[in-house]
């Protein structure tokens, strides 16, 4: 919320009548979190982690990247729906994450825009 300073009773009349300027807060979404992975790996591990390279057929639509089919362990998985997507920066690299549904199952796959490689990160329960 915007920070504001204390007022004295005498100032109140002046502050309540006319418009009052608000201040930018110094809030940054990143600052809410411990940015570095914590030493015990809390919140970063996943028991369903796969972390394997995959091949992906992708549609580039405007500025959007839409994975359509991924190939993992000699099997093709047709993506019926991208339920969510987000990005994360690791130093100079950006990783694009997609949670994708094949109908019965849900997977998290990711694209590293520096290494130009796709991975299956995990099976989402």
């Amino acid at each position: 919320m915007p920070a504001r300073s204390c007022a004295s009773t005498g100032e109140v009349a002046q502050q309540t009548g006319p418009a009052k300027k608000m201040k930018h807060s110094s809030f940054k979404p990143e600052a809410r979190w411990d940015r570095a992975p914590l030493p015990d790996g809390s919140g970063h591990q996943n028991t369903d982690s796969v972390d394997e390279q995959i091949e992906v057929l992708v549609l580039f639509k405007g500025t959007k990247i839409l994975p359509r089919i991924f190939f993992w362990n000699n099997k093709a998985y047709k993506i019926k729906k991208i339920t969510y997507n987000w990005q994360e920066r690791f130093g100079r690299e950006t990783v694009l994450y997609f949670s994708v549904s094949t109908g019965n199952d849900l997977y998290q796959i990711s694209f590293n825009n520096t290494g130009y490689n796709w991975k299956i990160d995990k099976i989402i329960n």
């Binding site: 309540t16 418009a19 201040k23 930018h24 979404p29 030493p39 996943n46 849900l106």
Partner: protein
């Protein structure tokens, strides 16, 4: 007019959007992976209805609702979504401010139909992210924020001079941001029960009974806010990190490793914004000691994790020669001033400065925590 956007159960809603199986189910997002040894970061509305809310221990939440779904928090999703919503709101052509990771404020000036604008914002957020937001609109940020809470989830409340009495009269004063349990009890003792009762109290009355806070509350409730010539962001007063361990631990190496890890996180943020801090604070919580807080001001300001760590150890040694049983701990720095470059007098100081620069460059290029002090490994 200020329009306040408050995302509904933000982290939990994102997890439900990612995994449709979790929709309409009681769900908690835990701050760490261990489902029975963590704290609830966010709860879905289904979980909230069962009496679960943020800040509760997960063990307690599972006791209330054994069929609760659990997902560990993954910060990148929430940060990215927050940034995207901020961008989306900017596209409406008004000035937007961050209030928190899941709250945004917009100065919509004298927009003719603010309710329609709110509907359009909600529609776009839902279409783009499959999550919902509640919106409050009023003459100032405090009433707008209150409005966003009155019709949750997925609702809009416009507070105007015309409906102010009927809206504020229906809700307890504790609904207003900043009126906590203690203040609400004081107000109740004074006969101030509803938001409307509070609204109609004079500045003198509130100052007499609540001090400066009461006066600020009065100003915030009655002002007409605008972003015109919005000022620069407030400079932070302190920078800190804290962490709750999965259980109470007494192992000195482990505790010291954690203090070092937190010191490094704080130092990294200090250096990133070119701050130096003269005061170091240490907070330790444990079953035997309760909350131990101590701080010490030093003549020489710092932005080096090792130095902050050493100062924390000095603070702790004064408190007790023996490491207590620790459940949670935090390190923070205040007395911040912009770092003024001075040619180091001693060779060792220059070497240390060069080393920090090199470490920062490596972490900036390859990602946070690519390189860190070996002692931090002991916290694993």
């Amino acid at each position: 007019m200020i329009l306040h956007v408050d995302m509904d159960a933000f982290f939990a809603s994102i997890e439900q959007a990612i995994n449709p199986r979790l929709k309409n189910k009681p769900l908690i997002v835990g701050s760490r992976n261990s489902r029975m040894h963590t704290v609830v970061c966010a709860a879905s509305y289904e979980a909230k209805r069962a009496g679960i809310d943020s800040g509760m221990s997960s063990a307690e939440a599972f006791k209330i609702c054994p069929n609760l779904e659990f997902v560990p928090a993954e910060q990148s999703k929430y940060i990215w979504t927050s940034r995207q919503i901020f961008k989306l709101l900017k596209e409406f052509g008004f000035e937007v401010l961050y209030a928190s990771i899941d709250e945004f404020q917009i100065d919509i000036r004298d927009t003719q139909n603010p309710g329609l604008l709110a509907e359009e914002i909600r529609r776009k957020i839902r279409a783009e992210f499959s999550i919902t937001a509640s919106i409050g609109i009023a003459k100032n940020w405090l009433l707008a924020k209150l409005g966003s809470k009155l019709n949750k989830p997925d609702g809009v409340t416009v507070i105007t001079e015309g409906n102010l009495e009927s809206v504020l009269g229906c809700f307890p004063a504790s609904k207003i941001c900043g009126v906590g349990k203690n203040t609400a009890a004081v107000l109740e003792g004074l006969g101030v029960k509803t938001c409307l009762d509070l609204y109609f109290k004079s500045a003198q009355f509130l100052e007499q009974n609540l001090g400066k806070y009461g006066l600020n509350l009065y100003v915030s409730l009655h002002s007409i806010d605008t972003f015109d010539g919005v000022g620069e962001p407030d400079e932070p007063k302190s920078i800190g990190h804290s962490y709750t361990l999965s259980r109470a631990i007494q192992n000195p190496q482990f505790i010291m490793a954690w203090i070092r890890a937190l010191s490094e996180m704080v130092a990294s943020r200090l250096r990133q914004d070119n701050w130096e801090a003269s005061t170091v604070h240490l907070w330790i919580n444990g079953p035997e000691i309760g909350n131990f807080r101590a701080q010490k001001a030093f003549q020489q300001p710092v932005s080096d994790g090792h130095e902050i760590y050493q100062r924390c150890l000095k603070i702790m040694a004064k408190f007790s020669p023996k490491i207590p049983l620790v459940r949670a701990l935090g390190v923070s720095c205040s007395g911040l001033a912009k770092s003024a470059y001075q040619q180091p007098l001693f060779r060792e100081q220059k070497r240390r400065g060069d080393l920090l620069k090199a470490l920062d460059n490596i972490n900036s290029r390859y990602g946070d925590n690519s390189i860190y002090p070996a002692i931090v490994q002991l916290a694993q």
